[in-house]
């Protein structure tokens, strides 16, 4: 049984465990149908964007590493919907969906994967390093745990500038389950705790590092409890439940803003494919693979909307069609965008120009008298 079912719950700052308040799939009562349909659109958009990314990688339009959010669509859409424009997001190398759900034009995300000047990072970062200062997406980071201290410091800057309150800024720092085992996790949470920083550490627990199960890697595999070493409270939600993710994040952000109480939000999710597009995930059993299919959050949500009478198949079909068209133009936009030109190599060398900055290309002579 997946942990989400096994141990739903939350830890208070005193460390005690109680049953989770998180809604379980099915309870969409009181939600605006329009918004629920929009969630579907976003989830489907991410789904198709990622599937096309995999294709484009196979066709060598995308290079380097490419990690997809397939299976994490509900988590991504729910978490991002709870954030305000003024909030800051730090995330990982598995972040295409976050960028899109944060409201960044998907074409600019695909263009970054293609390494084009129209990409969010102007082609300098690639798939692992999406950044958009307007959307306050302060980076995808490729070094495991690397985003944790800077995200913590961003929250420190917010606290430096003034006291908390309902309208203040907060930081969301996303990480994977296996990342809770690295030192930066410990140092960051400890700083957040002693300085009372407005930050939410969101663990997307897809139960795997690359191929290593969370139970093999973490001494306390109930990850939302790991804040106990800092008196930081934690909550676990079903990552396939878009509404539960949104609500849990809203509450965590409230804690951060109003009480300056850092917290952990663990969303138990499922990685439908390999660690990256080149990973065949041989280490997975047939059985596991089959179960994964049942755990597809997009299919499940689709079913839920239809059965809940929130959308009829025709509506959803037309959304699918629109998404299809959108993703088509997204790929076209990326493909038609210009490559950066080599003479731009030093364009972003330093923010403050400095004397004697090296600008030699390979084979150039050094200064000679």
């Amino acid at each position: 049984m997946p942990p989400a079912q096994k141990k739903p719950g939350k830890t208070s700052s005193s460390g005690k465990t109680s049953r989770s308040a998180a809604k379980t799939l099915g309870s969409l009562a009181g939600e605006s149908p329009k918004r629920l349909r929009d969630y579907y659109r976003q989830m489907q958009l991410i789904r198709r964007f990622e599937e096309r990314s995999a294709e484009m990688y196979q066709r060598a339009k995308i290079g380097g590493y490419c990690h997809l959010n397939l299976g994490e669509e509900a988590t991504v859409v729910g978490l991002m919907d709870a954030m305000e424009r003024r909030d800051y997001l730090f995330t990982t190398y598995r972040e295409h969906g976050y960028a899109i759900a944060r409201g960044i034009e998907p074409g600019r995300v695909m263009a970054e994967l293609f390494g084009r000047t129209t990409g969010v990072s102007k082609g300098w970062g690639g798939s692992m390093h999406l950044f958009d200062v307007e959307a306050r997406l302060l980076g995808g980071y490729g070094i495991v745990g690397g985003q944790l201290p800077p995200a913590t410091g961003a929250a420190m800057a917010i606290a430096y500038r003034g006291p908390g309150g309902p309208d203040t800024e907060a930081v969301v720092c996303q990480l994977g389950d296996a990342t809770t085992n690295i030192g930066a996790w410990h140092e960051s949470l400890n700083l957040a705790a002693i300085w009372k920083l407005p930050i939410v550490y969101v663990i997307v627990n897809n139960r795997l590092g690359m191929g290593t199960p969370v139970e093999k890697a973490a001494g306390e595999p109930d990850l939302y409890k790991r804040g106990c070493a800092y008196r930081i409270p934690g909550v676990r939600v079903d990552g396939n439940d878009v509404v539960a993710c949104r609500d849990a994040m809203k509450e965590a952000l409230r804690l951060a803003r109003e009480e300056r109480q850092p917290s952990i939000l663990e969303a138990v999710s499922w990685r439908l494919r390999g660690h990256s597009v080149v990973d065949p995930a041989k280490y997975r059993t047939k059985e596991e693979a089959r179960r994964l299919h049942d755990l597809d959050p997009v299919a499940a949500y689709r079913k839920q909307l239809v059965e809940g009478g929130i959308a009829d198949p025709a509506e959803l079909a037309s959304i699918d069609a629109e998404v299809e068209a959108q993703v088509h133009s997204v790929v076209e936009f990326a493909d038609n965008s210009p490559h950066p030109s080599p003479d731009q190599l030093f364009a972003h060398a330093y923010a403050t120009p400095v004397a004697n900055a090296p600008r030699e290309l390979p084979g150039d002579p050094l200064l000679s008298l």
């Binding site: 082609g123 300098w124 692992m128 085992n181 280490y283 390979p362 050094l366």
Partner: protein, 331 residues
């Protein structure tokens, strides 16, 4: 002599050493169930079990340090750090501990530790995943740092490193894993601390290591055929200790040298080579020692930018020509 890949040579050597000595064991992220990020350890978990092929959490500082402690008790850990970029997180354990323990405690403890890790760029892995940081380790007394360029050296130097009682940084290269070459059969050990003359020559010396040594060899062969330029190619193989004699003997003969390295130019390995040559062969040197190295910028993701930033055969040929010309009109 079988012709196998660099990857295969590493795999076979690990397997042989695991079979030879029960104190040898492997540790690292995803080396077992996942069979290694670059599949060097494929199949070893099944053969040797989880105690000797130990998957670790993502905790470079922790598991490298743990390997140090295990080595102090007489085991012979061979640690894989997925790429050299992540070795930075274990740097305190490598530099302040592995490199110091034998000397700082008056020779009472050995640290028979091998850290295998690949470096290198050119695969669009962008700024944080494309670095060549071996020069940092080469600077540190107490470490031994080897940088095999061929499948044969991958085998010989890995065996030597595992049997050595000091901490060895064994630095591989992502772009070498699929390269093929002849590898001696059976027990084969290459002495640490000795450079190799990959190709004899009389006109100019090209000094390089790791993947760039392979590039240098290709260029040298081409120049010989196409232009009759006789270039001698030296593969350093070991950065610490550095085999200065082999470099100087070559320059004494050719009177000219060029360094090819994949890393950033300033304060790189090439700086030490050039400094060594001008001090040790000053009177034999007919032209400045030029360095062909990477542009000094965090490596961009986009292919055209990445290509512009990294050194290649074309740049090397250009600098060789310029060096030869310089000496001609110098007479």
């Amino acid at each position: 002599m079988a012709v196998i890949t660099y990857r295969q040579a590493l795999h076979d050597t690990l397997r042989a050493e695991l079979s030879r000595d029960p104190n040898v064991f492997l540790m690292g992220e995803e080396i077992g169930v996942f069979e290694g990020s670059y599949k060097i350890t494929a199949g070893l978990l099944t053969e040797f079990g989880p105690e000797r092929i130990r998957d670790t959490p993502i905790a470079e500082e922790g598991f490298v340090g743990a390997a140090i402690g295990a080595a102090m008790l007489g085991l012979r850990p061979v640690v894989e750090i997925m790429t050299i970029n992540f070795s930075i997180l274990a740097m305190d354990q490598i530099v302040n501990h592995a490199a110091k323990i034998h000397t700082m405690f008056g020779g009472q403890s050995k640290v028979p530790l091998v850290i295998r890790t690949p470096g290198g760029g050119g695969q669009q892995l962008a700024a944080t995943h494309s670095q060549n940081l071996e020069v940092w380790y080469a600077h540190v007394p107490g470490l031994k740092v080897v940088v095999p360029a061929t499948p044969a050296d991958a085998k010989g130097l890995l065996a030597a490193s595992i049997r050595d009682d000091d901490p060895v940084m064994f630095i591989e290269h992502l772009a070498l894993y699929n390269t093929k070459g002849e590898v001696p059969d059976g027990d084969y050990v290459t002495e640490i601390g000795k450079a190799a003359v990959m190709k004899q020559g009389s006109d100019i010396t090209i000094v390089s290591y790791s993947r760039m040594a392979a590039v240098a060899l290709d260029v040298a062969k081409r120049l010989e055929e196409d232009e009759g330029v006789s270039a001698e190619v030296i593969d350093l193989r070991s950065l610490r200790p550095l085999d200065r004699r082999t470099i100087l003997e070559s320059v004494k003969k050719t009177h000219k040298a060029v360094v090819l390295e994949e890393d950033w130019l300033s304060y790189g390995v090439g700086a030490e080579i050039a400094a060594t040559i001008q001090e040790g062969a000053f009177d034999y040197l007919d032209a400045p020692v030029r360095r062909v190295a990477a542009a000094e910028i965090p490596l961009p993701y986009a292919k055209p930018l990445e290509l512009a930033a990294l050194p290649d055969a074309t740049a090397l040929v250009k600098v060789i020509h310029e060096t030869l010309d310089a000496t001609r009109f110098r007479g």
